[in-house]
């Protein structure tokens, strides 16, 4: 049970007013949120400092132009912010942010983290499919009824972590039948309570978990299972992987867009992993031919080794892939299995060490002894 600020307005309006309140009361210096770019519905993640600008804010636009966690991290890479800033972001973005902080890629202090129960987002490409506007209207219907909105990104349709446990403030949308009339703002932490003091609306207590949310979770889990199975009907194996990554341009856009891939210069873009002519000549002697540029699968599996255990399945990799490789689904599948293995949910707890940089003496004791 936690305190909930109820505003008698539709969610979108209600939240905008709440944000407005935070800015005007100078409780926060600025607000990170999605902002309208143009009439096609394109949005950008922006730092809004003037209440006036909030009229363009669309915190709930079902698009992810960038993983906000990456932005918040970069914003505080040099040092922590010294005055409060509110950041509206999605559960997976929040978890990504926390994973980055664990790697000292940023600072949590003075951020007021506002998130929402998440209905998922559409592929960025749908901006150009002409049907985007109507899609969005259907979107809210399905969110209300705690259903999987059609045409959202596969990874969103299969995401069971749509309740942002770590946020200070959670806007409830999933399963809120009356979200045109009422806006429920869950004050999830002391900090949240503090900042909400003085905001218009009445306080009640409610549970963020409802029958609806657990139904949706179940649907999404089924969806996920289905996707994973579909991905590798009769297992992957080298043949299947070659097929999946056949079109890969080695543009490494996936790693650039990935919030967990925080390296300034990716190891796989460094000279260490380039090849000399003779190595190709050796290889064509052995195989009769070699793909150029080589190392497509080495790159993707290598990236898995580096980040999959912290993968939050935010789907950015798939979104930026120019050749529609289901990168996100594959990485989620690998990530999920690793996370189960190490009993680790990325972004759940800032104190939990990243499995990649730690060990337990008494774990996996059967290994190596045969």
């Amino acid at each position: 049970m936690s305190n909930v600020l109820k505003i008698k307005k539709g969610v979108e309006q209600g939240v905008n007013e709440f944000l407005k309140f935070l800015l005007e009361s100078e409780k926060v210096k600025g607000i990170f949120a999605l902002r309208k770019m143009n009439e096609n519905g394109a949005v950008s993640y922006s730092l809004i400092t003037h209440p006036e600008e909030l009229k363009n804010a669309v915190p709930f636009a079902p698009l992810m132009p960038v993983n906000a966690g990456k932005i918040l991290s970069g914003f505080t890479l040099e040092k922590a912010i010294n005055e409060p800033i509110a950041a509206v972001l999605r559960p997976c973005e929040l978890r990504a942010f926390i994973e980055l902080i664990k790697r000292t890629q940023g600072n949590l202090d003075n951020y007021l983290l506002i998130s929402s129960t998440c209905g998922g987002v559409y592929p960025l490409k749908s901006l150009t499919n002409g049907r985007f506007k109507e899609q969005v209207s259907q979107y809210w219907e399905s969110v209300k009824n705690a259903e999987i909105a059609s045409d959202v990104r596969p990874t969103c349709a299969a995401c069971e972590y749509f309740i942002p446990q770590q946020a200070d403030i959670i806007i409830a949308t999933v399963g809120k039948k009356d979200l045109e009339k009422e806006c429920s703002i869950f004050l999830n932490t002391k900090k949240g309570e503090e900042f909400a003091k003085g905001a218009t609306g009445n306080i009640v207590t409610e549970e963020i978990e409802t029958k609806d949310t657990s139904n949706l979770r179940q649907k999404r889990e089924e969806q996920k299972k289905e996707d994973f199975d579909k991905l590798s009907k009769d297992g992957f194996g080298i043949k299947a992987l070659v097929k999946i990554f056949a079109a890969c341009l080695s543009c490494h856009g996936c790693s650039k867009a990935c919030p967990i891939c925080y390296c300034t210069l990716c190891d796989f873009d460094s000279k260490t992993h380039e090849y000399s002519p003779s190595s190709h000549e050796i290889e064509i002697e052995q195989k009769g031919g070699v793909r150029i540029p080589p190392g497509t699968l080495f790159f993707h599996t290598g990236r898995m080794i580096h980040m999959a255990v912290s993968c939050v399945s935010c789907g950015m990799c798939s979104d930026v892939c120019p050749v529609n490789i289901p990168v996100s689904t594959i990485f989620s599948k690998v990530g999920n299995s690793l996370q189960k293995l190490f009993d680790y949910l990325p972004g759940k707890d800032i104190e939990e060490p990243v499995p990649f940089g730690t060990y337990k003496e008494e774990e996996f004791t059967e290994i190596g002894e045969e």
Binding site: L265, D267, S279, M307, G357
Partner: protein, 561 residues
């Protein structure tokens, strides 16, 4: 390529030449790009061999040397010295193990030869990537920090100070002397008389090479052999902080006693006149062995091995001091009946057996028993027990003296963290090897002596303290320099993202974080070159010298040809 690589195959007497067709190897290798000479020699590790090799390096003006012979575990250093002599950087050399790995392990000569060629090719392609590494010498500080003012600490301080080393002796209590100070006496073969100990304490106090810091604790220790920095907080409350530079550390924090509250069946703390060994030492030292009611005890039970089962080890010294107690009781009291209960007798030293016999002669009863229940029966203490046969029995006594197990002193684990030393399953400090390296720790320059390693008698503690001093005296000679490992990790700043993953996998604290630059930094003097950090760095910013990705990878490539 303008390398001039010399490849020398050692016949190792018949060891290699019988099992590998060396001439085929030579023929195959000579065609390799960059290779200037390929030759064989009877026994390269012999004096002639070494001379031959050195001459070759000079004559052929080799830029790289590859020796195909035995395991690097055996002769890598030998040949590195040869390089040094011949003016070739020893890290531009690679020793290929064709004896153990090929000649001796692969039965088919054909196959062995093929494999040998593979290994050598790998070595050649690897050696061209080697970078000359330079041993750099570091000045050392020969001062020493001794932690713990008990007999071990005292002994260590004296033997070090005796060789003109400045010693900081840090003691938690307000005075040095440790547990021994409370004893009523020593064992006969130790000279019974405590004077020897008091003498040592005096010597410490009068020795101007020793700075005694009482009521003090070690707060922090950073650094490496020859160059440690330590923070000592004094005044107990830590109000005074002192920073000292030392070259080595001796940990002699001794022991404390098993907490008798954990074995309520012995009635300690609940029943009057049930004492633990230390309480009795004090009582007997004071000369007044009395019950609470002021009368001397007429009957006393000495119970050994209290907590032995719980702890799972024998504390070694209890039997003997209990015998000592019994004899004291007999001396000091006109009429006293003494019974000793033990589960196993531990009489390790030469003199111990006689001491035990003497006690028996003097009428002290020894009963092997367990499952004790100590109860209060109408002002008397009833000791119930089960004897070896399984029969239950009991006696009534005026006084019961318990011999609790010896356990690690309270802040052992805290200190272990400060010095990042491992502890064993019993909670004592863990030596590198009980038999082969009994007082060293994984941290070079940090030694442990005495009961900090486990139960010991005084002589053993003194031996270890002297051993530790010996190690230090021989490794830290004033004015001499030390050469830290050079095959260490390095961080390429432009690649480092500052995620600090490497910090979490380094056990030596060799990597620190430069807040200003926002990157990790390796302290090459501390780094041991294990390379664990490399695998933890997704940006590939860390390289372990002489075992870089490219160097190792070229070996992989050859393996897969």
């Amino acid at each position: 390529m303008n390398e001039k690589i010399g490849v020398y195959v050692c016949e190792c007497g018949p060891n290699i030449s019988d099992r590998i067709e060396i001439d085929r190897v030579i023929e195959k290798i000579s065609s390799v790009e960059g290779v200037k000479v390929v030759k064989k020699f009877g026994l390269l590790c012999s004096n002639d061999g070494k001379k031959y090799l050195a001459d070759e390096i000079k004559k052929e003006e080799l830029t790289h040397l590859v020796v195909a012979a035995c395991s690097p575990r055996e002769h890598e250093q030998t040949f590195m010295n040869v390089c040094l002599e011949a003016g070739l950087n020893p890290y531009l050399f690679q020793l290929i193990n064709i004896r153990e790995q090929c000649a001796w392990m692969i039965s088919d000569k054909e196959e062995a030869t093929r494999m040998a060629i593979k290994y050598i090719l790998a070595g050649i392609s690897r050696v061209t990537l080697h970078r000359p590494l330079l041993k750099k010498e570091l000045d050392i500080i020969s001062d020493v920090l001794v932690i713990g003012g008990g007999i071990s600490g005292i002994e260590a301080s004296l033997s070090l100070a005796g060789k003109n080393r400045k010693v900081y002796l840090v003691e938690k209590k307000e005075s040095i002397g440790g547990m021994v100070k409370n004893f009523s006496a020593l064992l006969p073969y130790q000279g019974s008389n405590l004077a020897v100990i008091e003498e040592k304490i005096k010597q410490v106090q009068n020795n101007e090479n020793i700075e005694v810091l009482t009521s003090s604790e070690v707060e922090d220790v950073l650094g490496f052999l020859g160059n440690f920095e330590a923070v000592i907080k004094s005044n107990g409350d830590g109000s005074v902080k002192k920073e000292i530079k030392i070259g080595a550390v001796v940990v002699a924090t001794g022991f404390s006693l098993f907490n008798l509250k954990d074995t309520p069946q012995y009635g300690y703390g609940k029943i009057e006149n049930v004492l633990d060994a230390l309480e009795f030492e004090k009582m007997s030292a004071s000369g007044k062995i009395l019950l609470k009611n002021g009368k001397p005890p007429k009957s006393v039970a000495l119970i050994h091995c209290v907590g032995r089962e719980e702890k799972g080890y024998c504390s070694k010294v209890c039997c003997l001091y209990s015998i000592k107690f019994a004899l004291h009781l007999q001396d000091k009291l006109p009429v006293v009946d003494v019974t000793e209960f033990y589960s196993d007798l531990c009489l390790p030293e030469k003199a111990d057996q006689d001491y035990f016999e003497e006690a028996k002669k003097k009428g002290i009863r020894f009963i092997r028993a367990d499952e004790f229940e100590v109860k209060d029966k109408a002002g008397k203490i009833s000791v119930e027990y089960k004897v070896a046969g399984g029969k239950k029995d009991s006696i009534a006594v005026d006084m019961a003296i318990l011999a609790p197990a010896i356990v690690p002193s309270e802040d052992t684990s805290k200190l272990a963290e400060i010095l990042n030393l491992p502890l064993d399953e019993t909670g004592f400090f863990k030596e590198v090897h009980e038999m082969l390296d009994p007082i060293s720790t994984p941290i070079e320059g940090v030694y442990v002596a005495g009961c900090a390693l486990g139960p010991k008698n005084i002589p053993e503690s003194i031996i270890q303290s002297q051993a530790a001093s010996g190690k230090i005296l021989s490794s830290l000679i004033p004015g001499k320099k030390i050469e830290p490992e050079v095959k260490v990790s390095e961080i390429k700043e432009e690649f480092c993202t500052g995620c600090q993953m490497c910090l979490s996998v380094c056990f030596y604290g060799a990597i620190s974080f430069d807040e200003h630059k926002g990157i990790s930094v390796v302290n090459e003097a501390i780094c041991r070159g294990c390379g664990s950090c490399v695998g933890s760095c997704p940006s590939g910013a860390i390289r372990s010298k002489h075992f870089t990705y490219p160097q190792l990878y070229r070996e992989v490539l050859q393996a897969l040809r």
